[in-house]
Amino acid sequence: MTMVNLTLNGKQVSADVPDNTLLVTFIRETMGLTGTHVGCDTSQCGACVVHVDGESQKSCTMLAAAAEGASVTTIEGIANGDSLHPMQQAFHENHGLQCGFCTPGMVMSAIELVQDNPNPSEAEIREGLEGNICRCTGYHNIVKSVQAGAKMMGG
């Protein structure tokens, strides 16, 4: 067992978990935040993307113990009370989601993409989201959402 201490959505959390606990398992099962999803077992689909110290991270590919002392942000931690994060709002306005399963990872990836590149081209968005699979939307409205989200984030 390993004692893991980290900041989760701005709050200090600690838990004693088996050494091999993945960060996604820590978030979903130990901490009960089920907005972060598991869609595959090969680190391909991106449904589990969270931010670790501000960087996109597939949380199925990292041990919880490796996040010791880090600041972890999940989809539950980006809205400001009832007011959605601009990227969440952009996905809503542009119908950038259907079944919602890939959405948390997609939004988290999109936020980091725009933080790194405040004014991305369509091609840069498509390339930047290559690690997130969506089966519903055909990506057209996701790209549109990220473009709109980038504008709303001040790009």
């Binding site: 079944c99 890939c102 055909g138």
Partner: protein
């Protein structure tokens, strides 16, 4: 967000009511649910495609830490547990029935595909169950697999009661007439196509959590289902033999289905059965590898096509001989998909006087194959639209002109095809014209030349499709072998304060029903869309319904909601007439108000609702109190969406990579309730079709191992594989439902594969390439180019 007024009614692109919970991580999927004391089950699956089970040794595993129980097929048989059933069968050419083999929920003596369920290991934690599974020894006698579809009939017999590995041998149409047309044709066009096997890959893997309540001997099953009532019926009546009333099935938020979550699979039945045996909740969540191995796959046909043309290039006949891979067991709609949902679509949007088709459904030692987005109709459309292009090329006609001259003319509706369907309405030229204009068809040759100057081959490809949605009149379906009805249900419950709850038998797993259905109700009742709640997915709350598949939710489920709302309005009018002391016939309802013609008397809808529940001044002699109505709508016919999709591609001859550079489509879905949501459905459908045509292929090797069993090996469309899509519509309103709607969920997946492959062939046609199989991978395309160049040089 433009909520809050009647402007959010029918025809408005209202932003979705359901979005917020998904965007904030508050969606509630089955895997997110935890029950106190829950156990976890891990399934040991067959590693062989075909084998007899000689022995299962589980003593060591049973003694492992945390293990609560280990079940095998013997335990299932001892408790008399049945297997999944086939929901629709057909009659063979010789009048005999479909051969239906048993399908135990845990293998009983034999395994028939890699991934078949053999042992259920149940433990306190998933890790303990997985560790214990390593200690279970299974002794197999390995048998020869049956993998090659074309020769499945001559392989070793897979099921005792399926001779020649043929489940069914179906035919439709007039063989003599088709033969005569082909014999007297000026031109005969021949084509053989393979509709590649696909894996649906909803992003949420399947899951189940079952809980038994000993107080009232009842079960609750949370599961990833597109149709909770069908799951309840099948598990209750056919598998566990428990009263349906003792089983509640909840399909909460479901992360995509595309057909794969229609069926009842062994896993959810095992969880439900074990929850009583162990008196603890039992949970299973598939990992992606299990989804690849054991979700029902899609497509997998070989179609031999012969088309007859007269001297004016009009189609005079069509014959299609199909071999369909059904896989190791009969999944729920595995028989209807390549037969009833396929053969009647072979007339497409064309006048074809004589059609005959034969479909042989074969058993193989691969995963069960069933309906996947489009279900039979993509296969029909693919072969038809491929042979249309092949024919146009053969007779030297422009493919658009060839289609146009063979379209069913708009004054020919209702149109009876020679393959059973009667199209109620359609007009195929306007969407063709619009799509041609959207993609600038006239300017294509200039773009081809410009691409050639950059060393690229550019091609354009069309697909004009029709589909049959919203199946079907139940009586007709029953006569054709359906074992279920195909109506849909809705209850509209108005609260005393005038808010509205709609309980629908359909299920939303991405389609946006919370919004679209609320728009219908808001529009008809003149109430705020925010005061309408849509409830689905819980068999204890909703009326018995058939769920969502086959683009039926709006055309059948929406029609049921509209009917129930009409009943509410009719009752409300009588209450209003009583309150305003007027004759029923003088009361008019519009914009949420009841008025008496010729007076300034009026009552709001909310006032009527209150009067219905506080019936102090009420027409008790004529009405019961309350304001709640239920309607079941049984469709009068299929609906027939149609349209034209056009793909434009560029091919790099040095790599064989096909770049999809442009897409234009114009669809006729009848009236649109929410154009934004419809467009999203079109985008997603096209993406899945592009996946089939360029990227995706489920491949078994000769030993029956699934080679493409992860996202490392099975190529899913990603953002950088696709362009933006140009989407537009024409409208001919459906004639037989009140909303005039046809359905839009599958059109993109049906229309797109042939458009793309036709575009690839068009790009390579100058080299002499005449055929390309799906998926058109870089290797295949590169080889086709190289072979053509080598041939030209010789």
């Amino acid at each position: 967000m433009p909520e809050g007024s009647i402007k959010d009614g029918i025809g408005a692109s209202v932003r979705r009511k359901e979005d917020k919970r998904f965007l904030t991580g508050s969606g509630r999927y089955t895997a997110d649910i935890t029950r106190p004391g829950q156990l976890h089950v891990h399934f040991i699956r067959s590693v062989h495609a075909h084998a007899n089970i000689k022995a299962i040794r589980k003593d060591a595993a049973e003694a492992a830490e945390g293990v609560v129980a280990i079940f095998t097929g013997e335990d299932v048989a001892a408790d008399g547990i049945g297997g999944p059933i086939c929901g629709w069968v057909v009659t063979n050419r010789d009048g005999s029935p479909t051969n239906e083999p048993p399908h135990p929920i845990l293998a009983n003596g034999a395994v028939r595909y890699v991934g078949d369920h053999v042992v259920a290991v149940i433990a306190e934690t998933l890790e303990q169950a997985m560790d214990a599974a390593e200690l279970v020894e299974i002794e197999y006698e390995v048998l020869a697999p049956v993998v090659d579809l074309a020769n499945a009939g001559s392989g070793p017999q897979i099921h005792e009661n399926v001779p020649g590995n043929m489940y069914f041998d179906f035919e439709l149409g007039d063989e003599a007439a088709a033969t005569a047309a082909l014999e007297s044709a000026a031109t005969v066009v021949e084509l053989e196509v393979r509709n590649n096997r696909l894996i649906p890959n909803a992003m949420e893997p399947r899951a189940a959590l079952a809980e038994y309540d000993p107080i009232d001997d009842s079960y609750t099953l949370f599961t990833t289902s597109q149709n909770p009532h069908l799951t309840r019926l099948v598990i209750g009546a056919f598998m566990l033999s428990i009263p349906e009333s003792k089983l509640r099935v909840v399909a909460p938020d479901v992360g995509g289905g595309f057909g794969s979550k229609i069926y009842v699979y062994p896993e959810e039945a095992v969880c439900t059965w074990a929850s009583k045996k162990l008196q603890r909740p039992v949970k299973w969540t598939a990992d992606r590898s299990e989804s690849f191995l054991a979700d029902a796959h899609g497509r997998d046909h070989i179609n031999k096509v012969r088309m007859a043309l007269d001297k004016d290039n009009r189609i005079t006949g069509l014959r299609v001989d199909t071999v369909a891979n059904i896989g190791s067991y009969l999944s729920a709609f595995s028989v209807v998909t390549p037969t009833i949902l396929h053969a009647p679509l072979l007339s497409g949007c064309y006048q074809i006087p004589a059609i005959y088709t034969n479909v042989k459904g074969m058993a193989t030692t691969t995963a069960p194959v069933d309906a996947y987005r489009g279900a039979g109709r993509p296969e029909a459309t693919y072969l038809l639209e491929r042979v249309m292009d092949t024919a146009a090329r053969q007779v030297g006609m422009d493919p658009a002109a060839f289609r146009r001259m063979n379209f069913i003319p708009k004054d020919a509706f209702p149109y009876q095809t020679p393959v059973a369907l009667q199209y109620d309405i359609g007009d195929y030229e306007p969407p063709l014209d619009k799509a041609l204009e959207m993609i600038d068809y006239k300017g294509f040759e200039a773009r081809r030349a410009e691409a050639a100057s950059r060393g690229k081959y550019r091609g354009i490809g069309l697909s004009s499709y029709i589909e049959a949605c919203g199946i079907a009149p139940s009586a007709v379906a029953g006569a054709l072998g359906a074992r279920v009805g195909l109506y849909e249900s809705a209850t509209v419950r108005v609260d005393p304060t005038g808010t509205v709850n709609v309980f629908t038998g359909t299920h939303s797993h991405g389609q946006g029903h919370d919004t679209t259905f609320a728009q219908i109700v808001a529009d008809k009742l003149g109430v705020d869309i925010g005061s309408v709640e849509i409830i689905h997915g819980d068999s204890d709350r909703i009326p018995f319904g058939m769920g969502s598949y086959g683009s039926r939710s709006l055309a059948v489920g929406g029609a049921a909601i509209a009917k129930a709302v009409d009943k509410v309005i009719e009752k409300s009018k009588i209450i209003a007439a009583h309150l305003m002391e007027a004759a029923d016939a003088d009361v008019v309802f519009a914009d949420g108000k009841f008025t008496v013609a010729g007076t300034d008397n009026e009552k709001g809808f909310g006032e009527i609702a209150l009067a219905a529940y506080v019936p102090h001044n009420y027409p008790h002699d004529r009405l019961e109190p309350g304001l709640e109505e239920t309607a079941f709508y049984d469709p009068l016919n299929f609906t027939y969406p149609s349209g034209t999709h056009i793909a434009e591609v560029e091919i790099d001859p040095s790599t064989g990579v096909v770049e999809l550079v442009d897409w234009a489509c114009c669809d006729d879905f009848g009236n649109l309730i929410n154009p934004m949501i419809v467009e999203g459905q079109v985008h997603g459908g096209i993406a899945q079709g592009v996946g089939q045509a360029l990227l995706e292929n489920a491949h078994y090797d000769e030993t029956g191992q699934l080679i493409t069993a992860s996202y490392m090996d099975y190529c899913m469309p990603r953002a950088d594989d696709l362009p933006n899509f140009k989407v537009d519509y024409t409208v001919t309103a459906c004639t037989h439902n009140d909303l005039g709607v046809k359905g839009c969920g599958e059109a993109g997946a049906i229309a797109s594969p042939p458009a793309l492959i036709n575009a690839v062939i068009d790009a390579l046609a100058p080299l002499g390439v005449t055929d390309m199989s799906m998926p058109a991978t870089p290797e295949k395309v590169w080889r086709a180019i190289n072979d053509a160049q080598t041939e030209a040089a010789e």
